[in-house]
Point group: C2
Chain length 240, copies 2
């Protein structure tokens, strides 16, 4: 592997580019306040909602459910998580649930994300390879100013990471060999799946993704092709 | 129909956003010169190559051929058109043909395209809805500075315009109703197909697309929802 062969960088988004936990907690906090439930920790609400993310995708991955965009899975998960906090989703206005579901569209980038992506964009194609659907990624990018060259990912590939098809189909759409593509993620399992498909790999630790008590993905667990402190350091590794 | 409901504008690209004829002729001219064939008009070469575009897509549209990205169709058409100008494609280096095929990735925008798109982007989602494949659109956008929010179109929808699926699937990916989407094109037939799917329509005449002798698409042939002189006038119609 050589960094000189990289023509595109594909990014995990939730946790790697944006801080989903604070963003979802911000919107959940407003919702909880409106309903007089300031006793509930919005971060706990965000964590509980996010915890249903992987199980919800499992049925799509194992083929028991056709490909379903993440926005719909998030919406179903919202209805599933609300009762744990004492809410009956059927008693809430649909429009309020729909809006709360868009919390995932309104997440803030980590401080280095935009400057680093802007540098990388000068020499490479940059695109999300997220499990988030296209509209979610478009709304997020427009609000936050993420300078993507294209919106790729699970919905375009019609497969959720870590299925090989998510990585391989995305490289194919870009008309690149797997080794010409570098997956960037804060998650070792995402990079392991990308490496198994022949992609190059870059690890950027996001040690606050899950809050101050985070225990996972604090360090690289394999000899990834690039290990960088943040997106600007990543750009510097590629002399961009 | 009301312009106030529009949330996304989708653009035809070849002819509407970029000047394919001059761009292809520029690259064909360099190729012809290298081979001592300055006697051939590069514009005639561009026109002949482009003339095979619609027939090549017909087999995909009628289902006799699986979806095939436009880059591959362009490449096949190049090999088909070269003999008409006295070239044996089998006698030319593959790398030279591959590079000439990328002429379609290196087209220049019309003078108003970038400024108009930048204005429209402030209030709407903007994306290509071209028959060009994703990589072609990405390369073109990076070179020319086209500020797309996403790269959509035939390859993502897996259907070539004017098939209804090309328009409807693109709206679906954007999670918008057809009437919330406006198709922008310099071609009346593209707009007619979009309107039949329920999209709003905007006509921007490009009377030099086919050169000084152009006879088609000089004027709007239906009462399109918007008729604008250029992309800046289009932005002004939407108060952007």
């Amino acid at each position: 592997m050589s960094l000189k062969t990289i023509k595109a960088m594909l990014f995990d988004v939730f946790g790697t580019v944006v801080d989903w936990r604070s963003g979802v907690a911000r919107e959940a906090g407003a919702f909880l306040s409106r309903h007089g439930r300031q006793d509930i920790d919005p971060l706990a609400f965000a964590d509980a909602w996010r915890a249903l993310y992987v199980p919800a995708m499992a049925k799509v991955r194992d083929g028991t459910r056709p490909f379903t965009p993440l926005d719909r899975l998030h919406r179903e998960n919202l209805e599933a998580v609300l009762p744990h906090f004492g809410f009956d989703p059927a008693a809430l206005p649909v429009s309020e649930l729909d809006d709360l579901n868009l919390a995932w569209h309104r997440l803030d980038p980590w401080p280095d994300s935009i400057s680093g992506l802007s540098r990388l964009k000068k020499g490479l194609i940059i695109a999300p390879l997220s499990n988030g659907n296209v509209r979610l990624m478009v709304d997020m990018a427009k609000r936050a100013g993420l300078p993507w060259d294209a919106i790729l990912g699970a919905e375009v590939a019609q497969a959720y990471k870590p299925q090989p098809q998510a990585y391989l189909r995305t490289a194919e759409i870009l008309m690149l060999k797997p080794q010409e593509v570098c997956m960037v993620a804060a998650h070792n399992n995402d990079l392991a799946a990308a490496r198994a498909c022949g992609l190059q790999t870059a690890f950027v630790a996001r040690v606050k993704e899950h809050g101050p008590g985070q225990t996972t993905d604090l360090t690289p667990e394999q000899d990834w092709d690039v290990i960088a402190e943040d997106f600007n350091a990543l750009a510097a590794c590629l002399e961009l």
